[in-house]
Symmetry: C2
Subunit: 201 residues, 2 copies
């Protein structure tokens, strides 16, 4: 069975759990604390062969370690209904995956972490900087999803799964998500898709 | 011929110019100013079909628009010597591409922009926040490239091209790059590869 080095509070880890669950792939979860560790041996196993030191990390049955949520989504998603087979449609998925890692996650996830998980309160200027960037990316998403059911094509793809990961946690980051009504409506659609799992479950 | 909506100061755009040049693919450059525009019609053409409003954007001869540097590198790189054909080696390239967009670019590129391209001086707390993150990602890269020639396998791939994009501009962001000697040595190797083009050229 696969092992998922996981964090129950991480949107990046949730993305992987969503896809594996939707694909019916069984996995064992090993929780890695974001605040450092009481179990150094577990952490050592997690970090072995993991040069970027990030969860989620998936270890395959043969011991191969896969990391970076975006790359993991492509590893398991390619060849399934969650990644289009048409080359240009697949490229649109890659574009949104890239935007998510480059713009959404570094704004919303970092602000949420600073406000809810970090040991120290963030500097107000840093908080304002991250809030402004978070609102900008949500505005881009809101404009695109208006009048669409999903981000690429007519059904759920890994682009939706990736973008859901942190955009649905924007309230934890103190963002007024109601200002982005199309995003909120798409979040509701995502919760109705088969194999949905919620953060913390 | 391809059209590249480009910014001569952008590391993200440089990545695309590097790969296209190395592959011998001709393209026409259209400069888009990072500070807004004196040519609204040009900007309108650039933004048409570009929901994330970012350079680089490549327009193919049939009018198809491709954006997000990471996705563009994969579009042109797949099937060439710049992306391994072995599935696991290709996955390692995707992991570094993801790390670059998720961790390197949002730290070094954003700090460099704030210090050298933005209209206002950044708040000192924001600058310190971004500097700390920049140094962390350079430390990860430095540890990995120590004793290696390239990031994945034994020759240059799009992982190297992507990571070169902003790491080699870290001095612009006020980072002491000499503290990361393995990264500096790899930068020198990258400059010696066939088809190298420098920022601003």
């Amino acid at each position: 069975m696969l092992t998922l080095y996981d964090s129950s509070v991480s949107g990046n880890c949730l993305k992987v759990r969503l896809l594996l669950t939707k694909l019916g792939i069984e996995f064992e979860r090993v929780e890695i604390s974001v605040r450092g560790d009481r179990e150094p041996a577990k952490r050592e196993r997690f970090l072995a062969g993991n040069p970027r030191r990030k969860v989620p990390t998936v270890v395959l049955e043969d011991g191969t370690s896969l990391s970076e949520s975006m790359a993991i989504l492509l590893w398991f998603g390619d060849g399934t209904r969650f990644v289009p087979s048409d080359r240009l449609e697949r490229q649109r998925v890659l574009e949104w995956l890239s935007f998510e890692q480059n713009n959404v996650e570094p704004a919303i996830a970092v602000l949420r972490h600073a406000l809810t998980l970090a040991e120290r309160t963030p500097d107000p200027a840093v908080e304002a900087f991250l809030r402004s960037r978070s609102e900008s990316v949500l505005a881009v998403m809101d404009a695109w999803i208006a009048g669409r059911e999903f981000f690429v094509g007519d059904h759920e793809t890994i682009a939706d799964i990736a973008l859901f990961g942190y955009s649905h946690l924007a309230r934890d980051a103190g963002i007024d998500l109601d200002a982005f009504g199309n995003v909120v409506a798409w979040h509701e659609r995502m919760r109705e898709q088969p194999g949905f799992v919620a953060l913390g479950s």
